[in-house]
Amino acid sequence: MKLNKDNYELVMFDLLEGNLSERDELLVMEQIEGDEFLFREWKLFKSTILIADKEVNYNGKESLLKKESVTVVPMFAKWIAVAASICILVAVIVFWPQDKPTEITDNGKIIEVPLEEVTPEIQEPVVDELLVQSEVENPSVIPNVNKETRRPKVTEKQSSIKSVSAILAIKEAIQNMDEKQLSNHYEEIKANKLEVIANQEKESISERVPSIKDNKIEPILLDEPEVKIAFESPMELNSKQKVKLFVTNNSPRRIKEKANAFIAKVSNPKIRLKPNFKSKRPSLEIELETAGYQAIASIQPFKNRNN
């Protein structure tokens, strides 16, 4: 690399900036040291390097520094989290679905069926027949329920299901009673009914208003069952009659308990609503299907939809 008047400034600049190779640096330095003009120019170039004054410092560093931010978690939040976790755990344990399919045997008892034996085709139309026929034979089968409330509204799906389930529960309960218990039970009922008739004769109709105890209206039987003195022998009762007997002679609370017990045994209920509002007599069919059970209830909530 040869220095001349045209290029010496650029070469010296590159030398100063460190842009030359070691070999070029040596060649250029030899030429600079051998020429007085170039040496003076190189000295001036070196003086252009700025030297920072280390005494000049910024004094406001402390004001610029930031402290580590710490996220404060209140203690009650932790306790809420713990309580929520416990609630969820309890809920899971309590409401975990029990997939134990059941089946009605020939003698009317409900037994659990192993999973491999369960097929979707197992459907016995037990309840619809039971419900409909029992109503036809004796409207007082369902106790302490007003006629209007017994016919559930279309939207009251859940109450309809409970009614159906209650009858199933009653049936089961009666089937589980042994014959001796049933016979004794009948004798008691017979005696009670006779006593009731005797009392009724003494009391006027106006006195049969609902009694008030502790500011609570005691429920009354709206459709009291017709008392039949000549009871059939318990031995000869079929399942429908047993249902009738249980429903007629037990308190609503007892019936409800039985119904709930039965509902608890029913797993994965599937409810289907089949409205038919186009016919002259609009109706609504409610189907309850579980593992091994199927119940159908048909209601006609609209007497005349045209009005």
């Binding site: 600049f13 170039f45 030297i51 004001s63 610029l64 580590e68």
Partner: protein, 161 residues
């Protein structure tokens, strides 16, 4: 960038930025404001800035801030420097002061490129990122700056001796 890294940046670069601004503006008060604004901006955007690019980022913010301030005060500075140029020529008694005087008269880009190069040791690429120039433009500006300073010093030496 977390808080610790931000504080590290303050410790490492605040002095350099301050010197860079002071050398370019000759105004310590303005330099302090610019340093403060620069680190405030870094704090706001610390989540998007990485530690390895923080130095260039800080100098770029400081440079842009300085340019804004200079543009605002341009007329004022021009009037001051024009009045003092002739009278101050003989007030400097050493080379560093000559050089500083020469640097103060450089165009803004040349001055910034040169101070970034010499004070902080930035390479051409980094200077280009800070000042918005290409590498070749940076090199040309630094060359012109050095040439101007050299000639300025040479002129003063001729006048003195």
């Amino acid at each position: 960038m977390n808080t610790q890294e931000y504080n590290e940046c303050v410790q490492q670069y605040s002095d350099g930025i301050f010197r860079f601004i002071v050398n370019n503006m000759r105004d310590e008060f303005e330099a302090e404001n610019i340093v403060q604004n620069t680190f405030e901006k870094l704090w706001v955007r610390k989540d998007t800035v990485e530690m390895k690019t923080a130095k260039a980022y800080l100098f770029k913010i400081a440079y842009n801030n300085m340019i804004d301030v200079i543009r605002k005060n341009k007329k004022h500075i021009d009037l001051e420097s024009a009045g003092h140029l002739a009278s101050e020529s003989y007030e400097y008694d050493n080379l560093i002061e000559y050089v500083n005087k020469a640097v103060s008269q450089l165009p803004e880009k040349q001055k910034s490129a040169l101070t970034l190069r010499d004070f902080e040791g930035h390479d051409y690429r980094s200077i280009g990122e800070i000042t918005g120039m290409s590498e070749s433009q940076v090199k040309v500006n630094i060359f012109r700056a050095r040439k101007y300073i050299k000639e300025y010093i040479n002129k003063l030496e001729v006048m003195m001796f």
